[in-house]
Symmetry: C2
């Protein structure tokens, strides 16, 4: 395509890009994306760049005159692509993967074109009602009770923040909404030592402070010990601290451990505490009927977060908070200035009443497209396959004399490390595994991320990617073994000596 | 196109939609969008639906088996479109409009395809650095000082929430991050009576409570009175309250009034208070050199919010907070668990350190595409034209014996009402204008929203839409006059009697 300058009218300040130009560039970009999706496995999973490299290729100032779209698209290849960590790469196994599907791309494209703000029913009825319906579909898919009301936030951290705010608003005799925490006693949130950092972040933001978070001991499989929780609550009450919320986890970030939620729910009911369940990653597994047990006890929770953008193949920016107490959430956040009052009053749901965000884009479309295209069974089948592949990888680790597994595999994440025969110094093992993971990532063939489990440097393999298959799993296992061998050779480990 | 079922492999749980199918549906959707953008002016700006109408057309449960994409796309026409408030309609004048451009659609499409999570530099170097560069471009465009550091949030309410959290973290002797507000005195935030509701919402969420927000008197043109601010601070200090933050507004939501920021900055400097400027809508105007004055004094602010998704033609979900004190923001929100530690350490910016969200999609692309395609001059020219058109509309209101303007027009929003000769009962005027706005919106030809200014029901015409032009302005003015006449006839007003 020849370069087409910005048309005179557009350059001079009238209107948008002509629709026919949009059509042409749109087709061009769709073709680019189709090729990208077909070939992303041939690109490096992680780029070979240093901080500042991409920035250095970009002009320091914006262009005065409009530029041809061809130049912009060419710069995607020239500047953006060489700096991409490819979350779409079939051997991207890091963090919790987000592998947005092709139907999700189409849904997001449509949402960008319609560009409605779903703050009020009246600001876009279709966006509000499609959000209600798709969230109710997802609720059914994970087996949550019908009284659970869903709201979309941008991510799991935001969902948990809003849940804890609702819990705080429920504390008898406080009325934080009006008076703040000025005369409140020290409040306490409990979570296990494996609970997500978003809980501390929420405590900081909500004015509770990190001191309000008490980390409860976990068992050998990294699950909260309910007796330890009960003991901590008794201890706190004696010290004049006011317990109000427990965050249990179904699929912890480090190792996907699943807290014993029924026993935790017993404690919460007895003590009158809000139970929030962080199932941001793990909740997806419940879509497969045989995995429904991961959410056992969640029907007794006050709130639960599930992120379709993690293991349900929807693009980033779609986390769902379900709560049986939408009124508490609303009391914590609703505020309607005159310019947002509408004739519908309480007849319709106005999602702005349930959180900080007022600008809310039409995110339900990508969830709707994805759920419909794959169907419940298609999604369950993918999740089932991921669990099978993760177990297969775990078996290979278990069988290898120089590797070991560091946690159970209740879902599809494998925590492992190299542990060469005879090397038993924990510092040396940590150092070796850190270098091993970097060496794997430096091949560009795969990307993994790490955690620490009880002080041990742990490599995580998260098998929840839409593009993963047995071949990819076999290949990353080969790479891990090759890189370990290379490190050991370089370190003369084969001569029986470490460093 | 014939219906193409979900392919066997995809239905059985392996992989994504085949790339060639994505290509075909992508082209189909691009064509649909091109037609939509060309013809959106012929669609109703607001749909004729009641709460529940769209929901009733959707199945109560998700499909077990995957569905053909053709069905999904057909349902966009059948179910979604009849429920759309068309924010793209050239006569959508409500709220603050968000008219995402065609380049912005392409940028969002690309972001959905790349689907990277920009939480850490290491989770996607290109996304982090492109966000840094485009935000620095925008900073230059509005004339903000080089030391201003930018972060993207989903909307203005979130930006203001994060700014006030940073201000709170700065309060000497408190350390809210660790200890919370437990032993803090009553803190106070000041804003004018026209300040945005997000300020109260932030106070609620941050544990300060609505009582922490003090609304300062505004002058006849709805601008904060600096002497009243200074007086309120003295009064509060005497009462043992601790002032810590002032939120000034450059472009208030009701009527785009612009607070006297230099005088407010004087007060803040003298009193040692954090000055946050809400320029979510108004900041865009500063891109036009002759309008740079709207941000006068902002170089002395501690933080300022500007929303490209309002008047800079970028899709929803892109608000920017600039602050000269990124360390305060970071102290309020940073927290790095082991699984998010990276080798870069402090060498690179990790945007997750500056807020609640951990999942952050690649939003800079749509800003980059839009700024480059239109160029600074192209964007300034559009803003200039909107201001011209708004003034023209205001002149017509002023000249009409049965309409009146209710506020100055410092930017491109006109606040007006019908005020038929001889009708001077304020309740009757409020009632008439509420019905007039509804009647205008019921035509489907235009959409406006309202506010109240000192008790008076006020119709707002926001001229900041990419597709607006003189013809659209003339037409909405005609509709307003026609509808008023019809209401007056129906009410036998012409016989000299009101109701």
């Amino acid at each position: 395509m020849n370069e087409k300058p910005v048309p005179e009218a557009a350059a001079n300040g009238f209107g948008d890009m002509p629709a026919e130009d949009f059509r042409a560039y749109g087709h061009q970009l769709i073709d680019w994306i189709a090729d990208f999706l077909a070939n992303v496995g041939d690109l490096p999973a992680f780029p070979n760049v240093q901080p500042g490299d991409i920035r250095a290729k970009l002009p320091a100032s914006p262009p005065d005159k409009g530029e041809a779209m061809e130049q912009v698209l060419a710069d995607v290849d020239r500047i953006v692509m060489p700096g991409m960590a490819h979350w779409n790469h079939p051997r991207f196994f890091g963090y919790f993967t987000s592998s947005g599907s092709a139907p999700g791309i189409l849904g997001e494209l449509l949402g960008a074109a319609l560009n409605a703000n779903n703050m009020l029913w009246q600001s876009c009825p279709a966006a509000t009602e499609l959000e209600q319906v798709t969230l109710d579909w997802l609720r059914q898919m994970i087996g949550a009770p019908p009284e659970f009301f869903g709201v979309v936030y941008d991510g799991g951290s935001s969902s948990t923040f809003h849940a804890i705010a609702a819990a705080r608003e429920q504390v008898a005799g406080l009325n934080v909404r009006e008076h703040g925490l000025n005369e409140a006693p020290r409040l306490r949130i409990y979570t296990s030592e494996q609970g997500h950092s978003s809980i501390d972040k929420a405590a900081m933001a909500l004015g509770l402070g990190m001191e309000s978070v008490r980390r409860v001991e976990a068992d050998d499989e990294y699950r909260m010990i309910p007796q330890a929780l009960a003991g901590a609550i008794v201890e706190d009450r004696r010290a004049g601290v006011l317990p109000f919320c427990v965050v249990a986890t179904a699929g912890s970030t480090s190792c996907t451990s699943i807290d014993p939620i029924p026993a935790i729910a017993d404690v919460c009911e007895r003590e009158g505490l809000w139970l929030h369940v962080d199932a941001a990653h793990g909740g997806a597994a419940a879509v497969a009927p045989e995995m429904r047990h991961v959410l056992d006890g969640c029907d007794r929770a006050d709130s639960i977060v599930v992120n379709p953008h993690k293991w349900l193949f929807v693009q980033m920016g779609l986390s769902v908070l379900y709560t049986r107490k939408p009124d508490a959430l609303r009391r914590a956040f609703s505020l309607t200035p005159e310019y947002l009052r509408t004739a519908q009053g309480d007849e319709a749901v106005n999602f702005m009443d349930y959180g900080i965000p007022l600008g809310r884009n039409f995110r339900a479309l990508k969830l709707w497209f994805t759920l419909r295209y794959f169907g419940v069974e298609g999604i369950a089948a993918r999740i089932r396959e991921h669990i099978r592949l993760a177990r297969r990888f775990a078996e290979q680790v278990d069988a290898h004399p120089d590797f070991e597994r560091l946690a159970p595999v209740p879902l599809s994440t494998v925590c492992f490390r190299a542990h060469p025969r005879g090397l038993n110094d924990e510092d040396a093992l940590n150092d070796l595994n850190e270098r091993l993971m970097q060496a794997i990532n430096q091949t560009g063939e795969a990307f993994l991320s790490h955690t620490k489990l009880r002080g041990r440097y742990t490599i995580r393999l998260v098998v929840s990617h839409l593009r993963v298959n047995e071949e990819q799993i076999n290949r990353v296992w080969e790479i891990a073994q090759e890189r370990l061998l290379a490190l050991m050779r370089a370190e003369k480990w084969l001569a029986g000596k470490w460093r």
